[in-house]
Symmetry: C2
């Protein structure tokens, strides 16, 4: 499945520059339109093959204002952070081009060649597969990822090392590799061949070709503005709506008993979250007035406000909406405290965005797998993802809405939109049913908690968390 290497020829520089600028402006003008996209360029390669020079030349040919360069020294991959976490903030926004000199592949290479604990081939390949899935998800969400390997033969590399200007030498120490060592060079070449199948390989031997081919490859990408497809082939398999959603359980709990149990469980929750080495993400979804706020209060009851963060998720800000829908969650997870609670979540993609048609069928149907991969990455990097759906009956919701309207300090909790959402009750149930079926995974199962009786619900939420922390 090796990538067909594109063929280019040397062109008139002036004309190439005009073409680049025009394509760049078309890309930029796509912002907010049905053919919007952004371009992420991952650059890796042999030292002194001319990555830097090629970008420098590119910056002269196009308008540098819409080209952002990110350069980070490679970092070891760890098992407490997904490979994308360090970089996700810099995923380009619609219309933008970002060049990443340091990227997940350079991290993979330093990790694989680490003297003390090199990666074995199976893990190496697993990483590559994971990275490709991530890039495909980006592409599906209108971030093109183009990958360019700057190659250089052993002989030419040695010649260039001989001639290098001393003031520039510090660059060539950055990557922690000894480029005078033939064995290391060969190892690196063998390793990179395990992932460069779908890369464009540029030979750094000839400088003009190098800069021109790189620019022309980018040009080709920029000109290819996608029509955001929205139609799906095939019929959607609607999942059966679970009984627990249609008729949430109605047991009532006695207040005294509740208080006693609550005390016990909330203490246990605080203790187990504190002493678990893993991070905890708790994700709440459910109809309006199902009691998310109340449940959250009980979770944090015995925690200090400095130990957790609560994110209440509404419609995305404009700058957020110009990124893949998961982007704003990546960023919140990246800077997260140990315990992070989401009052509404990334599942908005397959709930409100589906029901309100903010996402096309193709987009929301694709999202289940994307979300599963996202949560798997969190799970694999020592984060427990607890997902809770609070199930309320339609009657109980109506009563709570009315009560809210009548209680002054609760009035802010009820708006006209809540009543409108209620009209779409059945659509939301369907969407929820599909969501449970497709995203209840072993590593991040859904907990459906009946909430008509608030006392029972709150205890059930605590028990669900304890269960996933294996502290029950």
């Amino acid at each position: 499945m090796s990538k067909q290497q594109p063929k280019f020829e040397i062109r008139d520089k002036e004309q190439l520059s005009v073409d680049l600028i025009e394509a760049q402006y078309a890309l930029k003008d796509s912002r907010g339109k049905p053919n919007a996209k952004s371009t992420l360029i991952l650059m890796s390669g042999i030292e002194l093959a001319g990555k830097g020079e090629a970008v420098k030349q590119l910056r002269e040919w196009l308008d540098p204002r819409y080209l952002r360069v990110k350069a980070d020294a490679p970092r070891m991959l760890t098992d407490t952070e997904a490979f994308w976490q360090f970089y996700s903030e810099f995923i380009p926004t619609e219309g933008q081009i970002v060049v990443m000199f340091g990227n997940w592949y350079s991290d993979l290479l330093v990790t694989a060649t680490h003297v003390a604990e090199p990666l074995d081939e199976a893990r190496f390949d697993a990483y590559v597969e994971n990275m490709r899935s991530f890039e495909q998800d980006l592409k599906n969400n209108y971030v093109d990822v183009i990958k360019v390997w700057f190659d250089l033969s052993w002989k030419s590399l040695q010649k260039r090392l001989d001639k290098i200007d001393p003031s520039e030498q510090h660059w060539h120490k950055l990557h922690g590799l000894d480029w005078r060592n033939k064995k290391q060079y060969d190892t690196l070449q063998n390793l990179r061949r395990r992932f460069t199948d779908d890369w464009y390989i540029i030979d750094g031997e000839d400088e003009t070709q190098r800069d021109q081919f790189f620019a022309q490859y980018l040009l080709q990408n920029m000109r290819d503005l996608p029509e955001h497809e929205s139609e799906v082939k095939g019929k959607w398999q609607q999942a059966k709506i679970p009984e627990s959603l249609l008729k949430p359980a109605q047991e009532k709990l006695d207040k005294a008993e509740y208080k006693k149990e609550l005390d016990k469980l909330s203490k246990r929750i605080a203790d187990s979250m504190r002493f678990d080495k893993r991070n905890v993400v708790i994700a709440f979804e459910g109809m309006d007035a199902a009691g998310k706020g109340g449940a959250i209060k009980r979770i944090v009851k015995n925690l200090d406000p400095r130990e957790y963060e609560i994110h209440c998720i509404g419609a995305p800000e404009r700058f957020e909406a110009r990124h893949p829908y998961l982007w704003r969650f990546w960023n919140r997870i990246n800077e997260a405290e140990k315990i992070t609670i989401f009052d509404r979540t990334w599942y908005g993609r397959v709930l409100v965005e589906r029901v309100e048609e903010f996402a096309s069928p193709l987009e929301w149907q694709r999202a289940y797998d994307e979300i599963n991969r996202f949560e798997k990455d969190l799970f694999d990097s020592q984060t427990i993802v607890v997902k809770i759906w609070l199930a309320i009956s339609k009657d109980e919701q109506e009563q709570r809405f009315k009560a809210r309207e009548e209680t002054p300090h609760k009035r802010f909790k009820i708006t006209a939109e809540d009543w409108r959402n209620r009209d779409k009750w059945d659509d939301y149930l369907k969407a929820a049913a599909d969501m449970f079926e497709r995203t209840s995974t072993e590593y991040a199962p859904w907990h459906i908690v009946a909430t008509d009786d608030k006392y029972t619900a709150r205890l059930e939420v605590l028990r669900a968390i304890l269960k996933q922390l294996k502290a029950d």
Copy 2:
């Protein structure tokens, strides 16, 4: 000048909550309006005095969605980072409330009590003065800073330490202080009295009072929505427009000579920026077509694209505009590479925003001092700020505009807006003159470079940078 301590009484909890929510919603609804503001709460105090509990209670009384809690362990102040740099990202956006448990004062306290190198009183007081100026600038830009010290007597502290739940003890190690040590307690109290003059001091003895008074103090602040004043008292002293702006020098440089000198200077630039320990910020302003792009190209000629970052500054995004105007620059500086170049800058406040009346007279007239303080903070934290104004004559600009319109790959550089700005030529000159007079400081002087002859201009820019790097 000790702050008048506000007096509160215990109120009905239900009613207090209603009032808080209403005030919070009024604050939130102020976004984008002429009375918009945000509230930043800095909390410090004696351990176990109940900061955490007070915020927890607050979160129950108001809508937690618009209250963000930031909690960072105190960090030592260093001479390579201004005290606000770590926190500036979290300065609240209009309508928002942010609580900072870790803040510049807690950093100051750990720095001052550091065993090996305690701060002397003069430096301590200098920090406090600097912090107050920063907070005043925030307030002037519609971020209220309210500061609350949670106090607790030595006796009560010891009693509470005796009773503490072991699972919570890790909190009380965070601050690196031994709260069983009376001498340390006294030192801390003496130190904090050097800055708590303008703080609200809450006694943590009585829990109900503590939570209520804290909430009521916040309520008082939230209710006080500012009318953004715009009128200024007194007449503006317009600076004389320097000859160098009215009639930029016209010497011409021979191409061969230029090339030779450029080669030499751009190498020296690259070397000195690389080997200087300090960071470098290069700020460009000037009329359209004055040659900012060309000058930047020559600065980075011998640098690798990974060594610097170029920020082209246009109108702020909406989420940026909801913060103090310096906010987006704080953030760019915070994540900056060693060498950061701004194509247009924070001086937009006193140039385009003044001329186009996006900022009120009060706002832009206040900005000179704010900007000076900002640059002084950078200078004090080992950053060289080089400011360059490219001076072009009106005739030369017209010729360049026309040339741009006629050259395909330069056409993107010229828009109708450029022609419109040209109509306001004299207003911009006046604004520039005032800017030079008020912001040309010893630590960050302006360099006015005549640019009708591009060759001369580019070399002059390089010389100006070398001069400030003391490498000329």
